[in-house]
């Protein structure tokens, strides 16, 4: 897909995302989510999305915004317990859900980005997750086959970027963002800072994975569970 271009407009960045697209979206809970890209997608109103993301935000933030606007057809996630609208749409049959163990989800996304169509894991063996999947023994232990995931687009959030699209993440806001970056046919990254002096030894996502780059201002970074030390 060639190399990153620094763009001005979040609306323009999501312009080519069509109804029915599969999107891989970075973040864990509300930490490290592509705030502005999600909001631009809500404005655009793209429908019938399949979204691969560990969680689905909360009712009024993150991917919950797309859910509330009925833009999501299917979620592929490991945990979706923070969202009332999610429960309603799921129970009414409006929303499909595929639950994937968190480590399997991360590895399936990495595999998709790394050209690996399938891999074996012990995770889920003997549970409902293993139903219908190929089982295979290696050295006397049973594993199941899990498939790589590729997205039409990946929407991610990083801390810093240079203009070549190299990315650096901050603390646990890294989470699924680097693997999502690998697995998008087109990866759109939003960042807090553009810095053309990143140290090449400390790049988390090489620019080869990033096709569109945007800088956001004044990130909300909502905290889901503010926990402080009382003493």
């Amino acid at each position: 897909m060639g190399r990153a271009k620094l763009m001005e407009s979040f609306n323009q960045a999501v312009e080519y995302i069509q109804d029915g697209a599969t999107l891989i979206v970075g973040g864990f809970g509300l930490c490290g989510i592509p705030e502005y890209l999600i909001q631009a997608l809500r404005e655009k109103g793209t429908k019938d999305l399949t979204i691969v993301s560990n969680n689905c935000g909360v009712d009024d933030w993150g991917l919950g915004l797309l859910l509330a606007n009925k833009q999501i057809k299917k979620m592929i996630s490991s945990y979706v317990g923070e969202n009332k609208i999610f429960a309603e749409q799921y129970l009414s049959g409006e929303l499909e859900v595929e639950l994937v163990p968190q480590g399997t989800l991360a590895e399936r996304i990495r595999a998709g980005g790394a050209g690996i169509p399938g891999f074996y894991t012990a995770t889920g063996v003997g549970t409902p997750i293993a139903e219908g999947k190929e089982h295979k023994e290696f050295n006397g232990r049973t594993y199941i086959l899990e498939e790589g995931i590729v997205g039409d687009f990946a929407l991610i959030k990083a801390w810093k970027a240079d203009q070549k699209g190299n990315l650096v993440y901050c603390k646990t806001a890294r989470n699924f963002n680097p693997v999502a970056a690998m697995a998008g046919k087109v990866t759109i990254a939003e960042v807090e800072e553009v810095d053309d002096n990143l140290n090449p030894d400390y790049i988390h996502t090489p620019g080869v994975y990033v096709q569109r780059l945007l800088q956001g201002a004044a990130y909300s970074k909502r905290i889901e569970r503010l926990t402080v030390n009382s003493h």
């Binding site: 945990y79 979706v80 317990g81 163990p101 991360a106 646990t172 989470n175 699924f176 926990t227």
Partner: protein, 213 residues
């Protein structure tokens, strides 16, 4: 006198050895962190991408980019490292975490664990639990021995959908400690003031007694 959870936590912290890398589940297991001896060189892993969880932050230290797997704001200890989710579960799945202590809803006599879904209730998801129980070197489950209605949670077969099959190494309840081996389930310790008879009465699963009990 200690309440049920305190009993379980006090016993569970004895599983923690100096030099271990440990993953503590959300809820009761998280509380174990506070009880780890200060002179232990132990690193706590958070599956969202951190090795070296520190205490909760002061109000000034709160950082939205620094949370644990329970989505709580945390701090880091000296020598911590951040990594992405694939790397985090490579670490877990590959057997590099010495010990995981997780909560349970049911444990069967063969060491099956159910702790992620109750049919008929709203689906939430398994998060990282299925990966952890199949990956960490030692799996310790902490849970109350019986439900609030008095039914045994230590069962012949789990009635709930499984998180993992034959994955539990040790179960710690408010009544006793059990180990699971190829020989079956074995009672290895009683909580103080508890008799074998009481455990038998409140346990659906069949278990043997370890010689030392």
């Amino acid at each position: 006198m200690m309440n049920v959870r305190e009993r379980i936590i006090k016993r569970a912290v004895k599983e923690v050895k100096d030099g271990m890398n440990i993953n503590l589940g959300i809820g009761m297991p998280t509380l174990i962190a506070n009880e780890i001896p200060n002179d232990f060189d132990v690193m706590l892993q958070s599956e969202n991408g951190l090795l070296g969880i520190g205490p909760y932050p002061s109000e000034n230290e709160v950082d939205a980019d620094l949370i644990n797997a329970g989505k709580e704001t945390v701090t880091t200890v000296t020598g911590s490292a951040f990594f992405d989710s694939a790397e985090s579960f490579a670490m877990i799945r590959g057997g590099h975490i010495d010990l995981a202590i997780l909560g349970g809803m049911e444990v069967s006599e063969r060491g099956d664990l159910a702790n992620w879904i109750i049919p008929g209730k709203m689906v939430k998801g398994m998060g990282g639990a299925m990966d952890i129980v199949n990956g960490a070197k030692k799996i310790v489950i902490v849970m109350e021995h019986v439900t609030k209605h008095g039914a045994s949670k230590v069962k012949k077969e789990c009635s709930l959908p499984l998180t993992g099959k034959q994955v539990v190494n040790r179960l710690i309840t408010d009544l006793a400690v059990f180990d699971f081996t190829s020989d079956g389930m074995e009672l290895v310790e009683l909580q103080s003031g508890v008799t074998v008879e009481e455990v038998r009465e409140k346990t659906e699963a069949e278990f043997k007694l370890a010689l030392k009990v």
